[in-house]
């Protein structure tokens, strides 16, 4: 991730546009990106300072490249690089030896005279002899633990230049989000992933249903009800890559600018062509779910249509997205949750969740070995052996008033 110091953005009519490199407007950049990757790939043993200088050299050819963009690329490359941080403290030990040896001959003077015979060159040569290495080497290693002089030992890199550019574009949106005071997501898909990652990032949510299978979720934090605060901007930025990997969403964030303290809007949707380094969320959590959805097919059965992650159940900060929603032509709706895998903690949490939302019509499909452990009302439960059968489910659905 970048820092605020790397952020580049344009502002227009109350909106913010984070820096974005596109094929159309930035034709040479894929070439630059490949060259930067080569610098790092071949740069094992070179210092951070040298590598950064090489990146500067490549990008100084670009007509329109601001210093911040160059620094940003250095940061993104460093993010996937490992430098020798001198964890064993060799440089510090060397310094101690050298400074101790020189202390008794302070001050080191340029030219010896009657008062001070401690000539710089001679003292340094003496220390070199005592340590058994040429002074040039000592001088080079004396500050090898300082960040800019650390040497590259490994470079994990990016798949290719395009992947580096993709990461840059996402990182600039993230850098804009650091100053966000609120974020709203409208979603029609992948609710589970969106809510799970937002929670992992430490955000609070306010969920509003805007239509069948459509939700609006506002993300912020505890203090946000008291005042506009940028406190949760970092969490929103951390959450962004997960959102970008999802389908069917649109996002609006309110950014409070640093220089003037104005609020500007940042808009983004899954159609904007940003690429996350995270994979698209799996359609199904398990084989049972996948097999069931496939067997059911896209057409309604007895008037019931099957929708994956169709509804969000929520009460204050508790959320539950059942695996499937059945929507009947006449407006009835029933939710289905499949409990296949289990651990004692998982079952306990699941039961707690079901209790919170007991006023909802939820069917539970439970694998036979799990069923014994679970204490729920029997009319809610469908026990299955290896696969969930459509006729069992339909039977229950049709019994629903």
């Amino acid at each position: 991730m970048l820092t605020r110091q790397h952020a580049i953005a344009d502002y227009d009519s109350g909106r913010i546009f984070p820096d974005r490199l596109t094929q159309k407007l930035h034709r040479p950049y894929p070439g630059y990106a490949e060259r930067m990757l080569r610098v790092y790939c071949r740069g094992i043993g070179r210092t951070r300072k040298e590598l950064h200088r090489a990146v500067w050299t490549i990008l100084s050819e670009a007509e329109d490249c601001p210093a911040r963009r160059i620094e940003a690329f250095c940061k993104l490359l460093d993010d996937v690089a490992t430098y020798d941080r001198d964890a064993r403290g060799r440089a510090a030990a060397l310094r101690k030896d050298v400074f101790h040896a020189a202390a008794e001959r302070h001050p080191l003077v340029r030219r010896a005279d009657r008062l001070f015979e401690t000539e710089e060159a001679r003292v340094k040569a003496d220390i070199a002899t005592r340590l058994g290495r040429p002074w040039r080497d000592i001088d080079r290693d004396l500050f090898a633990d300082v960040i800019e002089f650390q040497r590259l030992v490994r470079f994990e890199g990016y798949a290719d230049g395009a992947a580096l550019l993709a990461r840059y574009n996402v990182a600039q949106v993230q850098a804009a989000l650091y100053d966000a005071v609120a974020m709203t997501v409208w979603a029609t898909d992948d609710f589970k992933t969106i809510l799970r990652y937002a929670k992992l990032a430490g955000l609070m949510h306010t969920i509003t249903r805007t239509g069948s299978g459509q939700y609006c979720v506002r993300f912020d934090g505890p203090v946000s009800v008291l005042r506009q605060t940028r406190r949760y901007g970092t969490a929103m930025a951390r959450f962004l890559p997960a959102l970008i990997a999802c389908r069917g969403w649109r996002m609006h964030a309110v950014i409070r600018t640093r220089r003037r303290g104005w609020n500007v809007g940042l808009d983004l949707s899954h159609n904007d062509g940003l690429n996350s380094h995270l994979p698209v969320p799996d359609d199904f959590d398990s084989h049972v779910e996948e097999a069931f959805a496939e067997k059911w097919g896209p057409e309604p059965r007895d008037g019931w249509r099957l929708v994956r992650e169709g509804e969000i159940l929520h009460q204050r900060q508790k959320v539950f997205v059942p695996d499937f929603a059945f929507q009947h032509e006449d407006g009835r709706s029933v939710l289905l949750e499949i409990v296949g895998f289990w651990t004692p903690e998982y079952l306990e949490a699941k039961q707690q969740t079901l209790k919170t939302f007991e006023d909802q019509r939820i069917l539970l499909a439970v694998a036979a070995p799990v069923a014994e452990k679970l204490d729920t009302q029997p009319e809610q439960t469908i026990v299955y052996k290896s696969a969930l059968l459509i006729k069992d489910v339909l039977e229950r659905l049709n019994a629903v008033q």
Binding site: A101, A103, V146
Partner: protein, 469 residues
């Protein structure tokens, strides 16, 4: 009121705020007036900033209402071994003044024993305490002082360590980040160099903390942005103010400031002038079309034109030349000769210059990269006389305890007067018969001269003597 509410009122700490549940809107209005609490539908309760905790507790107690209070997670501390020096009169006054209200700022010049005042207050308050310091060096220094003075091994939160104990030390940045989780763990919070606190983000370190007891310490409360007035509600009003003139010549050493101009070498001068011309001509060119063209505009333009980028680069190269002028090293040698074997402390304007000095004279160099152990070894080495001198960058600008040094040499730095005061404080620490000297080596005929002039406006620099070059 309990008859009207379905449940008894519950007060808890939630992410840096207080959450009040089970009280009707009417009761809240009656008890607290309007405005303090904000309804939060996401949590089903009302919120306010954790800093209000003491006031809210008082209100409940005054009204004689019971509340299920789950906020405080702090406890009484039994200090293992209190070994504090006898307080001087001013220090005693400071402790007494603070103790009257249990909150507020104590203003004392650097070197007059702020730390001992704080440790005494901690010893008497005897509750879980968090110390917030500006930088990690100071954080470690507090850790050390707590071990020495109170016999307690405090927790450390910051510098990639997260070891929370009932008494802990941290930095402002870490405090801001973690206060949402830790804000109810401490009964007393101490803000060292508290002029840092009112920054827009840093104030969260005070606002999101429920500690009823608060102490701010500083030598220089003023901020150029005027925000120091906020210290009144973030920490408490100033309870004790000791002017620097009261400290001078008594507990602090008498001092003198000597300014030495140095000149760029002919090669440096040629390059410096070239770079200056480049910057000037670029700006002049732009001002033809835009008379208000400013430095900010130049920075903003570097993204658009290679010329602007070159001008900016020239500007930084120019600054680097004045900062690292070769002649400075020569003058430094003269001063080392003059004062040998007295310990000297050199303050550099950049890490690069500090390393230049270190590599030229082979004296230890205190920079951000130094580990805790190395830093301690260097400081103790200077104190015990193992090292004749050390060079530091801005690490030591504030409050880090330095061993006795009567000679300080400033070879670059920014123009803020607070920085100047703090630096001077380092040299003046501890009394003795010898007069302390502060040398300032400035590159003549460059913008560094202007910065030096600005620096000396601070009252700490009164009585500056110039030396002809």
């Amino acid at each position: 009121m309990s008859h009207e509410s379905p449940q008894s009122p519950k007060l808890s700490f939630s992410g840096g705020t207080l959450l009040l549940e089970g009280v009707s809107a009417e009761d809240v209005r009656q008890l607290f007036g309007s405005g303090r609490w904000v309804w939060d539908g996401r949590a089903g309760g009302r919120r306010c900033d954790a800093i209000e905790y003491a006031a809210i507790r008082d209100r409940f107690d005054q009204a004689g209402l019971s509340v299920d209070d789950a906020v405080s997670d702090w406890r009484t501390i039994n200090w293992p071994e209190v070994q504090l020096p006898k307080l001087r009169d001013e220090q005693q006054q400071a402790v007494a003044a603070w103790s009257r209200s249990g909150r507020g700022c104590v203003i004392m010049p650097t070197g007059t024993g702020k730390t001992v005042v704080a440790l005494t207050i901690m010893a008497r308050t005897a509750t879980s305490t968090l110390i917030v310091a500006p930088v990690r060096d100071l954080m470690y220094q507090w850790h050390r002082r707590i071990v020495e003075g109170l016999g307690y091994d405090a927790g450390i939160i910051g510098d990639n360590v997260f070891r929370v104990r009932p008494v802990s030390v941290t930095t402002y940045d870490s405090a801001c980040i973690h206060m949402a989780k830790l804000g109810n763990r401490f009964g007393l919070i101490v803000f060292d160099e508290c002029h840092h606190l009112p920054g827009q983000i840093r104030r969260d370190a005070a606002r999101m903390c429920a500690a009823p007891y608060r102490l701010g310490l500083t030598a220089t409360p003023e901020r150029s942005d005027g925000r120091h007035v906020d210290l009144d509600w973030l920490v408490g009003p100033t309870v004790y103010d000791m002017p620097i003139s009261a400290a001078k010549g008594r507990t602090l050493a008498d001092y003198e400031v000597v300014r030495i101009p140095v000149h760029l070498s002919p090669e440096e001068r040629v390059r410096y002038d070239d770079l200056s011309r480049e910057v000037r001509s670029y700006v002049a060119e732009r001002r033809k079309t835009d008379p208000k063209y400013s430095w900010e505009d130049l920075c903003a333009e570097t993204g658009k034109t290679p010329e602007a980028r070159r001008a900016l680069k020239a500007y930084f190269a120019k600054r680097s030349i004045e900062d690292r002028a070769e002649e400075k090293l020569r003058v430094l040698e003269d001063l080392f000769r003059l004062h040998s074997p007295e310990p000297c402390i050199v303050f550099a304007g950049s890490n690069a210059m500090a390393r230049d000095v270190s590599r030229r004279f082979l004296i230890p160099c205190l920079l951000n990269h130094c580990g805790k152990k190395e830093r301690l070894e260097i400081l103790q080495g200077l104190e015990s006389g193992v090292y004749p001198a050390l060079v530091a960058n801005r690490v030591l600008d504030e409050g880090v305890d330095l061993p006795e040094a009567k000679v300080a040499i400033v070879i670059g730095g920014t123009a803020s007067s607070r920085q100047a005061k703090q630096r001077l404080g380092r040299v003046l620490r501890k009394s003795g018969n010898a007069r302390a000297v502060l040398y300032e080596i400035v590159t003549a005929g460059t913008s560094e001269e202007q910065r030096s002039r600005k620096r000396r406006k601070s009252d700490a620099y009164e009585g500056t003597r110039h030396r002809r070059s």
